[in-house]
Symmetry: C2
Subunit: 412 residues, 2 copies
Amino acid sequence: MPLGEGMARIVMKFGGTSVADIDHLRKVAERVAREVEAGNEVAVVVSAMAGTTNRLIDWAGEMSVLHDAREYDTVVSSGEQITIGLLAMALQQMGISARSWLGWQIPVQTDGIHGSARIADIDGAELVRRMAEGQVAVVAGFQGLGPDNRITTLGRGGSDTTAVAIAAAIGADRCDIYTDVDGVFTADPRIVTAARKLDRITYEEMLEMASQGAKVLQTRSVVMAMNHRVRLQVLSSFADTPGTLVVDEEEIVEQAVVSGITYTSDEAKVTLLHVQDRPGVAAAVFGPLADANVNVDMIVQSASPDGTQTDITFTVSRADLSRVERILGEKKAEIGCQDIIADPDVVKVSVIGVGMRSHAGVAQRMFGALSEKGINIHAISTSEIKISVLIGAEYTELAIRSLHSAYGLDAA
Amino acid sequence: MPLGEGMARIVMKFGGTSVADIDHLRKVAERVAREVEAGNEVAVVVSAMAGTTNRLIDWAGEMSVLHDAREYDTVVSSGEQITIGLLAMALQQMGISARSWLGWQIPVQTDGIHGSARIADIDGAELVRRMAEGQVAVVAGFQGLGPDNRITTLGRGGSDTTAVAIAAAIGADRCDIYTDVDGVFTADPRIVTAARKLDRITYEEMLEMASQGAKVLQTRSVVMAMNHRVRLQVLSSFADTPGTLVVDEEEIVEQAVVSGITYTSDEAKVTLLHVQDRPGVAAAVFGPLADANVNVDMIVQSASPDGTQTDITFTVSRADLSRVERILGEKKAEIGCQDIIADPDVVKVSVIGVGMRSHAGVAQRMFGALSEKGINIHAISTSEIKISVLIGAEYTELAIRSLHSAYGLDAA
C-alpha cells in the first residue's frame, strides 16, 4: 500500500548512549514524535541503556566463565526489554500511540547460534498493519527467537542489524541510524580538521569503511542493507542536521574517485626472518594459525637475493598476537626460520572509493603521497574499491592528513 | 509416574534477598544441588535480585505516572529474567543439568489484567518430562503470558503464587518457600521472645495469619495452595533447619486452640460522632466510600441513651485515611453528624486457630487478658477461626505478650 504524498514508512534506530537514562529516552521520544507528526509511519529500534549490557555480561562472566550461551542470551537480552517498555511509555505520555515488541513477539526468527545469531526471517505484516493505524512500533534490538523457542542475541552491534532487518521486513522507505556523530566523514574529524561529512555513499564503500575501521555502522548491518536494498541514513542523535545516506551507486550522480580514508590500529605485524624457501613453507606457517582460528589479513613474501631464503610478513588481530607468537615459536624448527619478530606498533590506513574502478593511478597517488612524507609501507592489500597500506603507528595522523589532501578531499 | 523410595518432586522458591547478588545466587545453587543429589526432581522459582524490581518500578514512575500496564509489565518482568539465567549458569557450573524458563516459554497462561494478573493455566508436561531426565527447571516467578501474547506480572508477592501454581501443575510433593525467617511463629519473635516456631499449621490458619499481618507468605499463594492441596513449607534460606509445614487439618494430630497471634498497623480508625440515628444512615456513610474503592474492615455502632443519635466507628487502610476524611467531610451535613475523628494510632491484634471451632470461651479469655492489663478495645471482628480486636497502638507489645501467655503459647 503506497503512502500519501511526502509521507514515508521509516525505521529509526537509537543506540545505548542515546537511551542512557530517562531524560535521554524522553529526547528520543521527541524525535520520534516529530516524524509521526510529519505524517510518517514509524518503527523505532533501540539498544539497552548504555552500561546495562556490559553489567549483565560482567555478571554472567562472574557466575561462570564457560557459560551456556542460551542462558547468557536470556540474561543480556533483558536490557533492551527495559528500554522498549520505557520508550513506549514516553511516547504514550506525549499522546502518541505506541507499543513495545520483544524479539519473540514479532517474532524475529533467528538461527540457533546463541550469542551471535543471524536473522532468518521476520514477518512484518502485523507491524505494517498497526503502523498504518498510526501506532509506533518500539522494537527491541539485538534479540530474536531461536528454533528452540529461546531468546537469541545477535552479538555486538546487533541492534543496527535488527533495524535494517525490520526495515527490509516492513518495506521501509528509509532506515535512520542515529549515532553520536553527524554522519559518515571523509576521514576521522578528530584527526583531519578539514574532513567533510559525505551526503551520500554507496553500500560497497560503506562496507569497506566499516570493515576498515570506521565505527559508525556495524559491518553485518551494511551487508544486510545492501542485500535488501534498504536505504540507510547515518545521522546525529543530538544535532538536527541531515546525515549521510547509504545508497545504490546509481543514486550518486557525481562520484568522487576516493570517498574516504579510514584506519585501524587493531592489527599487528609478524615477520618471519630467513625462512627456508621451499614448497609448502606457506602451509607450514599458516596451517597452524588457521587451525587455531587466527585470521591472517595482509601477507607479503620477499625473496632473498640468492633465492634460498625468504622473509614472510603478515598481519593478525592485535588480540591474537601473543597466541600467534606462541604457536609459531613452537613450530620454528619445522618452518625452518631464523627469527620471529612481532610488531604491534603498526596501523592500517585505507583509501576507499567506487570511483577507483574507472580511474587509473589511484594507488600510485597513494604511494607517492606517503613516500613524499618519508613514510615506509610494510604491506599492501587491495580490493576493487579499496587500497590498504600497513605503516608505522607513529605516522598515522601524518599519513591520513596527507592522503586526505592528495585525493582532494579537504573541505574548501 | 510415582518416584522411587524417598525421592520427591519438589518446588523451591527463593525471594529477592536470597538472590541479591552473585554470591547469594551461588548459595541458592548449593541448596538446590543438595536436593538434586538426594535424588529429588527439582523446579526452582526465583524473584528478581533485591532492589532490581524497585528500581524498574521507579523508572516507570519517573517516565510516566499513568503508564500503560502492559509496558510496565514488559519493564519490570526483566528482573526475573536476569536471575533465572544466572542461576541456571551457577547450577551448570556445579555440573548440574539446568535450564531457565520464562513465563511465556512454559507458558504460564494468565488473564489479561496487566500488573496484577491471575494465573489461568500452566501445562506442566514439558517440565515434568525434563525434570524426570534430571534437568532442574529454573522458573521466573512473578510473570506470565496474557491472552494478548504479552508479558503479564502477578503483582507484589507474585513469586510465591508462581511457585505454588508450578507445584500444582507438575504435581509436586512439596513446595518449599525459602524466606529470611525459620518458619511460621506463634507470634513475631521480635516482640515475644518466648514465641515458638510451629511445625505444622493448617491452610485456613495460614490464610488468616497472612491476611492479618504475618508477612511470611503472600495471601493469594496460600489460597492457591489450599485449593490445589499443595503441601507448603516455609523455611529459612540461611539456616539449615526444618521449617513450618502448611497442610490439611487432618494432618495435624494435636491441634492447639490458638496457633498464633498476629498484628497489623496498616489500619486507621474513623469515628463519626453524634450521627442522626435514622434509616439509611449507614448507606450514606459507606456508600460514598465504596464508590471510591475504599475497603472498610471493622464497624461498630453504639446507640446514644435517648436513641436519637449514634456514634459510628470503623477502620480503613491507613493509606486511605486522608481520602476518607475528605470524602466524609464533604458529606457531613448529608450524613447529619456532628464531628469526624480520625485516629491512625491503632493496631489490630488477632488470635488465630482452627481449634476455636470446637472450644468455647476463646474470645472471653482474650477480653479477660486485655482487660486485666487495662487495655481498652475499640472494635472487635471475628471469623470462624479468628478473633481480632482494635486497640491503641501503644499497647501493641503488651497485648501480644499477654495473649501469647494467656493461650499457653509461651515456649517451655
